[in-house]
Amino acid sequence: MPKDQGIGASSKRREDVRFLTGTGNYTDDINLVNQTYAHFLRSDVAHGTINSIDASAAEAMEGVVKVFTAKDFEGVGGIPCGWQVTDREGNPMQEPKHPILAEGKVRHVGDPIAVVIAESPELARDAAEAVEVDITELPAVIDMKAACAEGATKVHDDLTSNLCYDWGFVEENRDAVDQAIKNAAHVTTLELTNNRLVANPMEPRVAVGDYNRANDEHTLYTTSQNPHVIRLLMGAFVLGIPEHKLRVVAPDVGGGFGTKIFHYAEEAFVTFAAKALNRPVKWTCSRSEAFISDAHGRDHVTKIELALDADNKFTAIRTETYANMGAYLSTFAPSVPTWLHGTLMAGNYTTPLIYVNVKAVFTNTVPVDAYRGAGRPEATFQLERVVDKAARELGMDPAELRRLNFIKPDQFPYETPVAVAYDTGNYDATLDKALELTDYAGFDTRAAESKANGKMRGFGIAHYIEACGIAPSNLVGQLGARAGLYESATVRVNATGSIAVMTGSHSHGQGHETTFAQVVADMIGIDESQVDIVHGDTSKTPMGMGTYGSRSIAVGGSAMVRAAEKVINKAKKIAAHLMEAADADIELKDGQFSVAGTDKSVAWGDVCLAAYVPHNYPLEEIEPGLEETAFYDPANFTYPSGAYFCEVEVDPGTGKIDILGFTAADDFGNVINPMIVEGQVHGGLAQGLGQAMLENCVYDDNGQLLSGSYMDYAMPRAHDLPNFTVDHSCQTPCTHNPLGVKGCGEAGAIGSPPALVNAVIDALHRGGYPVEHIDMPLSPSRVWNAMQSVK
């Protein structure tokens, strides 16, 4: 029987009730007394010199409070970057200033020039039209390779070129990799693009700044995945506000997917302006504005070569990638194409030699940073595409070529040639599970039926590995991270036994309030309803790094377990005193402390009461109270993996793809709430399949964003997607965290794009169109044109 409570139970989500009744508290639902409204006037050209800004007419309009420009921010810091990458020569990356409002030049469509503050959003918007900005438009650099050419227009005049860094990994392997490729029995080469995406959480960003002059305290309400990170970056590096005078609140947040990790100029602006005006300042982003101000994702152009020996074993991989940084460095941008991408190039395979070269490039486009998966989808896509192509070239079954090269279960822990050590995994098991769930053997029959109906059916396989549970602080510090990546939790037991857990993780759809409560309730043996999870407010939670990179249960959950263990250990001492027994003899089960081998017991609630009403209490040995904090820094990353199978039908007349089935067999280690885990996979799959089939962020040569709204950017809709078959029964628990968990948030987005593209390429080959590759998204026109090109 499935459990109905605690670890392993599909507990219904407690957060649902407020979301289903319209009583959530999202940032845009917050309105403060005497509030003003900010409207950002943004550049409509990709590159230009600002000659003048005349706001006098706007400031004279009724209801306008003030118009801010860069001159109001003299002496204020730029938006900092949180990660420094070192190039092949050992030099630090080129790091331009990222001002809150444009200083002298605009560098992308959407770069903020001025901000109008008014008594209503409508008045602010109207007045923005009266601000006269004179800009001389300059040539824009959009294409990454063109940006790297000799004599290219520079995005930043004070940098030596548009190259942020030229990174080699592992640089010492370079010659050996070159040699192995030269000597290989077979080399498969593929050039591909990982299309630029916009994360598009359904809640646009919002920021509300408030200032209390009486005590010099600032409060920022913001749509963030990590309020403590925002407090640190903005307080210490931008505005110079000490932490004890700055509170950052991220209440209910309507999805993040990475794009709400970063510290944005608008957050610093409203915080600054609230003090300058001594009134609250609110900014609500429109969707169209989000397209030109939220950090984008992906945008890599890659050449990958896979070398194989005569036995079809992989001997070497060499890649060269151009990674778009956009016009400025967003918070974690430099880490995405490097440490979150190069380290994953071994995939599930035993390839002994790997060399990854990444050129990060500034262009006159919106900054690019982490989006669901962040680097790992880019690594997986190129690897799983090139392996599939190799299988076709060698005439092998793509599943069997993978299996031949898998790291085998007895090889763990496994040191890859790209600096990471996988602790556990069983790639054959997930492959077998996916084969079982998809009736792989019956595919030929189904393909024949499709053919009879004038359609081409294809089957695509992809495997993935990801590094989650970000991250061991000492390791990432060596790799350029400018912050620690531990997580924190405080377990506060109340006098009658109920519990509040303050976590540094942040839930913006993942259901932590439910999952985390399951863990603590299970450890003590009390009802889940007795445990509340508190998050999203720097004044309530200990310093924590927030939620991204599928880290919450693996790192935040581990911190919570450590804090709960401390609480339990102390409670056992109290119980021992109450029962006049030795500490070591106390056992805790189902909320009852008992003395081993006796019938003596005392209830959890009674022990908690004794801690706060210490009339009969070992005061000489332990303090009263029952509250503990733990900070957990992981020893390693976690390594979820899985096998993703996609079955499609392609209409040869139109190139339109129908996804007939999608199966995900994942290994997430132990699972706390299966219902929530499956939901996370569904959402990841939709975003990955959206990337593969529909979504594309397109700039024209002048740097105008052509896909700037939901009219032009194809978000996946219900009828674009199939029902998913998801399975997480293959479990190799993580060996280095107390829950044995790995993380599940990004898997779907990582593994699904190559599975779909492989399926479409398979369908085309079976239909007599030997197309080698189509760049995502596989729109009907791209598929149809590719078919015509090989006719």
Binding site: L20, D28, H682
Partner: protein, 161 residues
């Protein structure tokens, strides 16, 4: 600004609105009913769906004054007065049909409109009907299951264990 009066979830309400004030803005800002969400500015996302005189409407496509005298129903009025969720809301919780909750008000209101006109929709009909509601979290899988379950049709239990 002129006064506009309407009925929202059975309660007579009024407030000042400009000619250009959208119904979604009127609900959120003037009436303080923030359950209705705004996720885009091109009438694509459907987070703002409410019912006006019994029809599902994207409240960002309608001026507040156009709703003068109308019966408007929003997400805040869907549960019973004692807080008991209606069958669609309950199915969304039972089948994990929501994650971040931002699209949820529009999804629930669209689902209610669908089941009113088609009490036993097929899965394909549910997916087609949701054309105007975007969800970025769930991949729609569990939303579709929730709506099928709310219509009284057999749907496998959540999370195979």
């Amino acid at each position: 600004m002129t006064e506009v009066k309407m009925t929202v979830n059975g309660r007579a309400v009024s407030g000042d609105a400009e000619g250009r004030t959208l119904l979604s803005t009127f609900l959120r800002e003037t009436l303080g009913m923030t359950g209705t969400h705004v996720g885009c500015d091109t009438s694509q996302c459907g987070a703002c769906v409410v019912h006006v005189n019994g029809n599902a409407v994207k409240s960002c496509t309608m001026f507040a004054h156009e709703a003068a005298g109308a019966e408007v129903a929003t997400i805040e009025g869907q549960a019973a007065p004692d807080g008991t969720l209606n069958k669609i809301q309950q199915a969304f919780q039972d089948y994990h049909g929501l994650q971040c909750g931002f699209c949820t008000p529009g999804m629930v209101m669209s689902a209610a409109a669908l089941l009113k006109e088609n009490p036993q929709p097929t899965e394909a009909e549910v997916r087609d009907y949701l054309e105007g509601n975007i969800c970025r979290c769930t991949g729609y899988h569990n939303i579709v299951r929730a709506i099928m379950a709310a219509s009284g049709q057999e749907v496998p239990a959540v999370a195979a264990e």
